[in-house]
């Protein structure tokens, strides 16, 4: 459904991603993992059109979308729940949700109301607070609202950027349960996460990024069992290990 080939993107003066290729099939949950600064968010921003790829190609449902504007990408069926939620703080829960349906151009008023009811069904807490303003919500409620807003677009694929960030463990549990449920109901999901373990528990496949490059890719189960994963997150790399050894020797010798 979604394919990236050899994509490179610059973020200011830094080349944040240096030739990434990945694919997401219909109905899958694919996890995009990696340590902080690996380039995960930049990849999402490139797909959604906020950043433009300098090289490579992005294909969605067979159509080349490289270089398209963000508003247009939203309209062709890619919805995004961005890092940090980015709920409109001065608007109510209901308004935030209704705005999520902006890209769903063909829907009638009734269909949007039905979608709204559907979202309230998944997140009953949101219906309770539907008149509350964005800035009045807690972290967990914000995340639910952001996901709900993403659902309102009735998109073919939903991109989630670090949904667990800053949330208490028990809320994280709930968030991932909901993501699994949404996927079962038919939405394809590309999930960017720092919490690799939780992501791999619900994903079909995973890609591991490191300093802008694709390092590992495998089924979720295999990745969970993979010792190499630990190295990419908490690891020690050979040439730096040597430098340290040299220094230790020098100190010992002196």
């Amino acid at each position: 459904m979604l394919k990236l080939e050899g994509v490179e993107t610059w973020y200011g003066a830094i080349q944040a991603i240096k030739g990434i290729s990945l694919g997401v099939g219909q109905g899958e949950i694919v996890a995009l993992l990696g340590a902080n600064g690996a380039g995960k968010s930049t990849t999402i921003k490139t797909i959604t059109g906020l950043l433009k790829a300098t090289k490579g190609r992005i294909e969605f449902m067979g159509k080349d979308i490289t270089g398209m504007e963000a508003e247009d990408i939203a309209e062709i069926g890619i919805a995004c729940v961005p890092e940090g939620r980015r709920i409109f703080p001065g608007l109510t829960v209901t308004d935030n949700l209704l705005l999520g349906a902006t890209s769903n151009k063909r829907a009638s008023k009734e269909e949007i109301q039905r979608d709204l009811a559907h979202v309230f069904g998944i997140f009953p807490q949101l219906e309770q607070f539907k008149g509350r303003l964005g800035w009045q919500l807690s972290g967990g409620q914000l995340q639910m609202l952001a996901i709900g807003r993403g659902l309102m677009a009735n998109s073919k694929i939903l991109l989630l950027d670090e949904p667990s960030l800053g949330l208490a463990p028990v809320v994280v549990q709930e968030v991932f349960r909901v993501i699994k449920e949404i996927n079962k109901a038919g939405t394809t999901i590309l999930l960017v996460e720092q919490n690799a373990r939780m992501a791999l528990l619900i994903a079909n496949r995973g890609f591991v990024l490191e300093t802008g490059r694709m390092m590992l890719t495998d089924t979720a189960a295999n990745l969970l069992a993979n010792e190499e994963m630990k190295e990419h997150y908490l690891g020690a790399h050979a040439h730096i290990k040597e430098a340290r050894q040299r220094r230790r020797d020098e100190k010992a010798g002196a």
């Binding site: 003066a13 600064g37 919490n195 908490l234 020690a236 340290r244």
Partner: protein, 611 residues
Amino acid sequence: MPTRIKRLLAPAVLVVAVLMLPRLVTSNYWKDLINLSISLAVACLGLNIVLGYAGQLSLAQAAFWGVGAYTSAILTTQFGLPVWAGMFAAFFVAAFFGILLGIPTLKLSGHYLAMATIGFGIILQLILVNAIWLTKGSDGITQIPSPWIGSFELKAPGDFYYVAALSLILFTWGAIHLKNSRVGRAFMAIRENEMAAGTAGVDTTYYKILAFALSAGYAGFGGWLFAHSCSHYISPDTFSFDQSVIMLVMAVLGGNGSAIGSIVGATLLTLLPEMLRFLKDSYMMFYAAGIVAIMIFMPSGIAGLVKSMPLSLRLRAWWNVDSTAARQVAAAAAAWENSGGKPNAFSIGDCPGSGETLLSVKGLAKHFGGLKAVDGVDMEVRRGEIQALIGPNGSGKTTILNMLSGLYVPTAGEILLEGRAISGQKSHYITSRGMARTFQNIRLFGELSVLENVLIGQHGHTRSGLLTSILQPPSQKAEEAGMRKKALEMLAFVGLKGKEFATANSLPYGQQRLLELARALASDPKLLLLDEPAAGLNAAETEALVELLFQICDRGITILLVEHDMSLVMNVSDHITVLNFGRKIAEGPAEVVEKNPEVIDAYLGREVSNA
């Protein structure tokens, strides 16, 4: 052409031009206009100091111009003081008002600052209109006397012109000297990045007020020139917000930051209306449209345009070859080659690893409203070690660095550097106590050269004040030479030899990081705080960074670094402190920390089971 003759060329041309002008311009009307342009030019030079050098948008310059004019007019007409006394009074009274404006506006920037200065200017003008007992209000002050030299009265515009021209030359000379001095660099550091200026050792409060005072003083002097020439009459209408706007346009048209540019801008915009009289009423519309067009197409003004012309580039090359700075850099390069290319040791202290506590943190906390970013952290950094502070996103690492370097005031807890409490102190004070830092999102003085960036790092250890920076006596020149020598050593040490005159912004990312490091090292720190020094570096650059860190440590400088790159952290640190959710969850050497289950969970994520 020998250097000595080159040096005398510019002043000689200038003297000839100044002396010739009255012969070429014969009508009194035009001579008056020239005197007016000079008076405005001096005011614009002042605006250039506060806006062009220090980056503070002041829209009150016409008010200070008025303060100077009125001070001298009142003293000479009502109190009979000689005009030369009025000159000094104009400068200093206006400077005083500049201080009055600078103090309350310290925390303001951007449009808030602009509005505050506008308000100040309007209030001053209203006082001029309404304090009739002093200023004669809207009637204005008439018959303002001309200055006397001995028994000769400088009444004719052509005679007053010499006073005006001489003052302009002196004030310009002062402004140009200022730009290339310790005080000027402090101004520009504030303009480029106020936060980094503070951590580099610049007392931003003092220098901002100084900039306002100095620029107001310039404007006041310009007002003196205006009052005692032209029509020998002043009234409050002249010193309006509109006039401040015109001065702003003159300065920006000439080129923000260029002293000569201000003069060109002022002259052009004073004389142009005369030459465009045929446009009559629509003149102002063309003027305004021109302003917008200049902003769109020529944002660096005339100075910027001239700088980029090939002819001027060649002239500069011919001129620069023998400049002091260039010669020193060349000499240092030669010495470098001769000594075989090894970096000179700049020893701070003796052998590293003496083990005593350098930095001690107890119960440190920072609350932002309800958010507890840092929630009671104890830490110790021992002299000579490399310690890393790590933790997942949002764990409070950068907040702690900000509290250590004086950018945040801690909500609770204490910080002791070498036993002295520094919590809550200003960053330039902390830097002078021996703690320097780099930033996660690089904070360089972008438009300044590589060399200037490192020179500013030495601000706290050098002495030149305003007067010495302007007059540049031999003692100041010696200090500057010493600073340059040290800066060149720093740059060579980090590997930026040969890039001294490049603009900081033009460097590739990895070299910008090195430059920030050089600037931090230039302040002779005992403790170096590094905020994600490896962010955005590739493998080769990271390796070079590691080597550099070891060398820094060998020179006796203690390092505390915040990093995400685990390979760097695990292999470089002697000691690691791990944070999560604002609290310390583990500490110890690398081998211990990397096996700690709580640490592993914090990074890889805890598996929360579905009950």
